[in-house]
């Protein structure tokens, strides 16, 4: 077990290093004039060649990339001072650089937007399980009936439609057209400010994510349950005279849950890493919408920070899933 954990951790660190370096290099060698946006902002659009050169120098683009990458990584862990246009800004850890547009450290804006994304992710992921697993179990128990077939084929249809169209239509009808009270007014209000507004603003987004995401879980749960219910130990449990509920949920579901835990971990990580379509459609001020806006304004430090953040979240999610899986199913450790 210990050797396996160490091996997985080392692989995770290696991937993290590679990803962070590729993101850094992409933003280093990618743009033709990396300092152009900063220069335009600081000089109120009177940026000329000479000023551009000065900003390029100040932002460190004339130094070697590995030195700057080292500074960037150091900034993420311990923070650093950044001097631009004779103005030094203290950028505390985790420092992802300064925004080109407002000159503030990226993390200061980012930490205000993380709760919105987390709220969306937690609610959506909860619904994945709450809708998906019971539906899958119910379908497996009624295998071959009309209800089962209707569920399977309607979910096949649903999962063939792009998610953003489903979400967009939901928003257009429930919010824009019918203006449903409470849940019609979408957006993010902090939970501490008003729990009802928080719930109402996110409810539609959760429902959309939940309905759309649960199809996969229903499929898995149904498949695993069908398999589990035909096992010998289920027949034994039935023969012992256990109530059906105990047989299905205690004996059957427990075996079926292991693969579901795995995909749930990855899905939850993906949601945490950014729910761009959901945030864009339901107007929720999370990091997805924020980075999308930063793309439009060409505010590259924000884009690179969100990319790095998402990569870290996803790699961690994968790592945790691997470790949990090795506890649930010891066979994986050996392979």
């Amino acid at each position: 077990m210990f050797a396996y954990v160490v091996k997985r951790l080392l692989a995770g660190v290696l991937v993290l290093f590679l990803v962070s370096m590729s993101i850094f290099l992409l933003f280093w060698y990618g743009p033709n004039e990396p300092a152009r946006v900063m220069c335009d902002t600081k000089t109120s659009n009177r940026c000329n060649a000479e000023r551009l050169d000065r900003f390029t120098e100040e932002l460190g683009y004339n130094n070697a990339w590995y030195a700057e990458y080292g500074d960037y990584v150091k900034g993420v862990f311990v923070g650093r001072d950044i001097t631009v246009a004779a103005q030094t800004t203290r950028c505390d850890a985790p420092c992802f650089g300064l925004s080109y547009k407002n000159g503030k450290p990226v993390w200061e804006d980012m930490k205000d937007r993380l709760p919105a994304t987390f709220s969306v992710a937690i609610g959506g992921a909860t619904l994945y399980l709450l809708l998906g697993v019971p539906l899958g179990v119910a379908a497996a128990r009624r295998r071959g009936t009309v209800q089962d077939k209707a569920l399977v084929s309607s979910f096949l249809f649903l999962s063939s439609v792009p998610y953003y169209l489903f979400a967009l239509l939901t928003w257009l009808f429930f919010s824009l057209k019918w203006e449903v009270p409470l849940i019609g007014d979408t957006g993010y209000v902090p939970l501490t400010e008003s729990p009802t507004a928080w719930f109402g603003g996110l409810a539609l987004a959760w429902i959309c994510l939940g309905i759309f995401g649960c199809t996969q879980y229903t499929r898995y749960a149904r498949g695993a349950m069908v398999e589990a219910l035909s096992e010998d130990y289920i027949r034994t449990a039935k023969a012992k005279g256990l109530p059906t509920r105990t047989v299905v949920y205690r004996h059957g579901l427990r075996a079926a849950l292991v693969p579901i835990v795995t995909i749930f971990g990855i899905d939850f990580g993906t949601l945490l890493a950014g729910t761009i379509f959901t945030e864009r459609i339901f107007d929720i001020e999370g990091i997805g919408l924020w980075s999308l806006r930063a793309v439009m304004q060409r505010d590259l430090p924000i884009v690179s920070a969100t990319a790095l953040f998402s990569a870290v979240v996803l790699i961690m999610a994968n790592l945790i899933v691997d470790l949990v899986y090795s506890i649930l199913d010891p066979r994986v450790r050996l392979s």
Partner: protein, 341 residues
């Protein structure tokens, strides 16, 4: 042989059952037993009603995409920008005499005209279909080539090559596609904004981004298949005979991989169509050419007054993606009837 070919799906359909003739050793029965697995699968596909409807839909869209220019000339419409004020009222909604939402459809603009810009909807819809299918097809081709090559190499060579390729595959599977597209889009536009070939560069970039995040599934699939196939007798025989590696790969292995390749390619297309429109909807896909996703974004703000404008691209995307998806499922079922639900 030729008689069976002209007999069409009926004959092929029957052949998976018991022989129908009185004497199974008649000439006809013999010619039928010579069918390849691919043709048996084709027969199964053609008997699947949903698959045939989906195929017809896909063919319809492909024809629209190919003849987009001809159709536009036929209807006398184009994607040129016009002076909006002459066609629109003060809210930016088309005046009744130019079509919906307040007037009847006109012959000059069969789908109506767009709010705010007053461009022709039909022309934009046709061009959107063309761009969507073009980008999805190109991305599928690139992703398939990359997937097959890496999968074959990893499975056949094994050892260090397999380790490295498997690591790269897992690495790419970790990266979220949407975020990668979001990250790469501003870089490309930053770098090539003033380039005269910006349109081409943008399309190429989109195709490459789509392809680079779509090959992993196929590569894994191929690797697994090759791992089990390479130990089989016919491969060993080919090697003993001294066949060069590239011939073993192309002549012996590839034909056995046709089924998984066809299945995963047919499921890649709808994913790319959907992704292309989704990126355009977010404003990080193609911006310099018409796309269904762009129209969708513009139509959102006019939904209450002019919902028809939104339904056009939306139904286009849904019909195409749904048809491609269900067709892909049907192809998979036809190639391997065991997976049928």
């Amino acid at each position: 042989m030729s008689s069976a070919q002209t007999a069409g799906p009926e004959t092929l359909g029957r052949m998976s059952d018991e022989p129908q003739g009185k004497d199974p050793s008649t000439k006809k029965a013999k010619s039928i037993t010579g069918k390849s697995p691919m043709r048996i699968a084709m027969g199964r596909l053609m008997r699947d009603k949903i698959a045939v409807v989906c195929l017809a839909t896909v063919v319809f869209f492909v024809l629209i995409a190919i003849f987009s220019g001809v159709l536009q000339r036929l209807f006398g419409v184009d994607t040129d920008t016009v002076l909006p004020s002459q066609f629109l009222d003060l809210d930016g909604i088309p005046r009744p005499e130019y079509g919906p939402p307040y007037g009847a459809f006109t012959m000059e603009h069969p789908f109506g005209i767009a709010p705010r810009t007053a461009t022709d909807n039909l022309a934009y819809w046709l061009e959107g279909a063309r761009n969507s299918l073009q980008i999805a097809t190109l991305a599928t081709v690139v992703a398939t080539i990359v997937g097959i090559t890496l999968g074959l190499l990893a499975g056949f060579l094994g050892g260090v090559v397999d380790k490295v390729i498997s690591f790269i595959t897992d690495f790419f599977l970790t990266l979220p596609f949407l975020l990668a597209a979001l990250t790469i889009a501003p870089i490309v536009s930053e770098r090539f904004r003033d380039n005269p070939n910006y349109v081409t560069i943008q399309v190429t970039q989109l195709v490459l981004v789509l392809a680079f995040f779509g090959w992993m599934g196929l590569a894994r699939l191929i690797r697994g298949e090759v791992l089990s196939l390479r130990e089989r007798e016919f491969i060993q025989a080919a090697r003993v005979l001294g066949m060069p590696t590239h011939r073993v790969l192309l002549r012996e292995l590839m034909p056995n991989l046709a089924a998984p390749i066809v299945v995963s390619t047919s499921l890649m297309l709808p994913a790319f169509v959907s992704a292309e429109a989704g990126l355009a909807f977010l404003g990080i896909g193609i911006t310099s050419r018409p796309s269904w996703g762009q129209t969708l974004t513009q139509a959102t703000s006019f939904f209450n007054d002019y919902s028809l404008y939104l339904w056009q691209p939306l139904l286009g995307i849904v019909a195409l993606v749904l048809a491609l998806n269900l067709l892909g499922d049907a192809v998979r079922d036809a190639l391997d009837p065991k997976t049928r639900r």
